[in-house]
């Protein structure tokens, strides 16, 4: 038995949010990336790989370094990449965020695949919620973290109810 390296609230928050980022936004961008590559929609490949680079940097920052809160979207890439400076995956994330137009779509996808494999090795794998076989396992994984967040008194990671407001 060993204690987690930070307090329970921070651990649950960081891991819950990391799971959410990898589980839904990143899964969506992966789907976008492959769909676009096959359809020669190079603009989408570029956007998806950029977003995956940023999302992986954020995930590593919160799950490896237990940083919180996550800053607003406009500052997220720079915040995460600065914090990751020196980490073995920092350059790869930075390269994807930069999105050099001289890099072909297939090269960008290959870089993303390499990054995703290494990030998942470091922080764990999440079932693909966008596939029929991964849908329920992904929900079950999310439920586990949601229950832990509730137990430690932390806010959940689900998007706020968009129907509210006004």
């Amino acid at each position: 038995m060993k204690a987690v390296p930070v307090d329970a609230r921070r651990y649950a928050w960081c891991h819950g949010h990391g799971l959410w980022i990898m589980g839904l936004p990143v899964a969506t961008f992966i789907e976008d990336m492959y769909g676009a590559l096959a359809a020669d929609q190079h603009g989408i490949v570029r956007v998806a790989t950029r977003e995956i680079g940023e999302a992986c940097a954020v995930t590593l920052t919160i799950m490896l370094f237990f940083e919180r809160p996550i800053p607003p979207p406009a500052m997220r890439a720079s915040w995460a990449l600065n914090r990751l400076d020196g980490h073995e995956l920092a350059d790869l994330c930075r390269e994807l965020v930069r999105s050099d137009t001289r890099t072909s779509s297939s090269e960008l996808v290959a870089k993303c695949e390499r990054l995703l494999e290494q990030v998942q090795t470091l922080v764990g794998r999440v079932p693909d919620v966008l596939s029929p076989e991964g849908y329920f396992p992904a929900l079950a994984a999310a439920r586990g973290w949601l229950k832990l967040l509730e137990a430690v008194g932390e806010e959940d990671f689900l998007p706020r109810d968009w129907t509210a407001g006004g």
Binding site: G35, I44, R46
Partner: protein, 368 residues
């Protein structure tokens, strides 16, 4: 081409695509999601596949709504029809009317548009407006707006204004990042500002909005004359490369597209730094900023601690979590501290006013 012929043509195109990609018919989709329909509900297809974009892995976004529906789902309900994923938003007509009403009200008010929406960041509201306004009715009577409400105009104007306001914020942050020597944040926000400006310009020209990610495909397919404007900003400067020029050019490009001034000193008078829950904790020798909400402590040096004390003295008597400071009129140390806290997510940036459509000069066009 009449409106009805155009609708029929778009429906046939959609049918052909999902049949080609997945060997699925609209009738099969309707059968799978039928259990969600109340009497006289309409089924409306929106999203990228419905507007001639998308690809083999794109899902089909569907809204089911009508007068009889009283429950609205918080998240899309996922279905599979063979290999086609169908995401269904079940909604009451009243909720849709409410979203349009809020959007219409927002357009007529001077405040920041997203103050009226709970979560504009994920673009759910913007997409909903466009799914309803530009979507394809697959079955049912449709969701025609009652006069005098014009779904198409509202959907278009909300996106134009929202993206113009996002452009303004990115332009401001890019310039602040230059001022505080944050090359990557400066370049990222400069590129984002140009992208937001182009989204606004494309939508103003009459092209339905389908989400942020489709910008480059839209530029290539629908508005090639704008594509050339994006090219210089598609790649961020490499680490160590000159980035101030990149930011300056991006700001100039945005100003030319939108017809408004985006100089930082002008914008700083329109926005404020708002505290979250930070309080100064003077424990021991080291001044600490405490956020109880995130369970975090940040050590301040003497300059930072003094800057914080001055900021708080300026709002003496107010509860710490309720205070904010104008982004203009701060001295160097205060401005540096506020920006540092903002980029860590510990202060918020709030805008005192929106960007009214009347201030913008994006070229407008007929709906396509």
């Amino acid at each position: 081409m009449t409106t009805q012929t155009l609708r029929d043509s778009r429906r046939h195109q959609l049918e052909a695509r999902i049949n080609d990609y997945h060997s699925v018919t609209v009738a099969e989709v309707l059968e799978v999601i039928d259990y969600l329909r109340d009497d006289k509900d309409s089924v409306i297809a929106g999203g990228s596949l419905a507007v001639g974009l998308g690809n083999r892995l794109s899902d089909l976004d569907v809204v089911i709504a009508g007068e009889q529906s009283v429950v609205s789902s918080r998240v899309p309900l996922e279905h599979f029809v063979r290999s086609l994923r169908v995401d269904v938003w079940k909604m009451s007509k009243a909720l849709i009317d409410d979203v349009f009403e809020r959007a219409e009200r927002g357009l007529s008010q001077p405040g920041r548009l997203d103050d009226l929406f709970a979560n504009v960041d994920d673009e759910v509201n913007l997409k909903l407006l466009h799914r309803i306004a530009f979507g394809i009715t697959l079955d049912g009577p449709g969701l025609a707006a009652g006069p005098p409400r014009d779904h198409v105009a509202i959907a278009r104007n909300v996106v134009v204004r929202e993206y113009a306001e996002r452009m303004r914020e990115h332009a401001f942050l890019a310039q602040l990042s230059v001022a505080h020597d944050r090359p990557l944040a400066a370049a990222v926000n400069a590129r984002d500002a140009v992208e937001e400006a182009l989204h606004a310009a494309i939508t103003a020209s009459g092209v339905p909005f389908t989400g942020h990610k489709w910008l480059q495909e839209r530029l290539a397919n629908d508005v090639p004359d704008l594509r050339i404007l994006y090219a210089p900003f598609a790649t961020l400067p490499a680490a160590g490369e000159e980035y101030e020029r990149f930011v300056l050019t991006a700001i100039e490009q945005c100003e030319a597209l939108a017809g408004i001034t985006l100089a930082a000193d002008r914008l700083s008078s329109q926005c404020r730094w708002a505290n979250t829950d930070l309080v100064l904790a003077e424990a021991g020798d080291s001044p600490l900023l405490l956020s109880a909400n995130v369970g975090g402590l940040w050590q301040l040096d003497d300059t930072e601690a003094d800057a914080w004390r001055v900021l708080m003295a300026a709002v003496d008597g107010s509860r710490s979590s309720l205070v904010d400071w104008s982004c203009s009129g701060l001295d160097q140390a205060q401005a540096a501290l506020c920006f540092d806290l903002y980029e860590r997510g510990l202060l918020k940036l709030i805008w005192c006013c929106g960007v009214p459509l009347s201030d913008l000069n994006f070229a407008t066009g007929s709906p396509r």
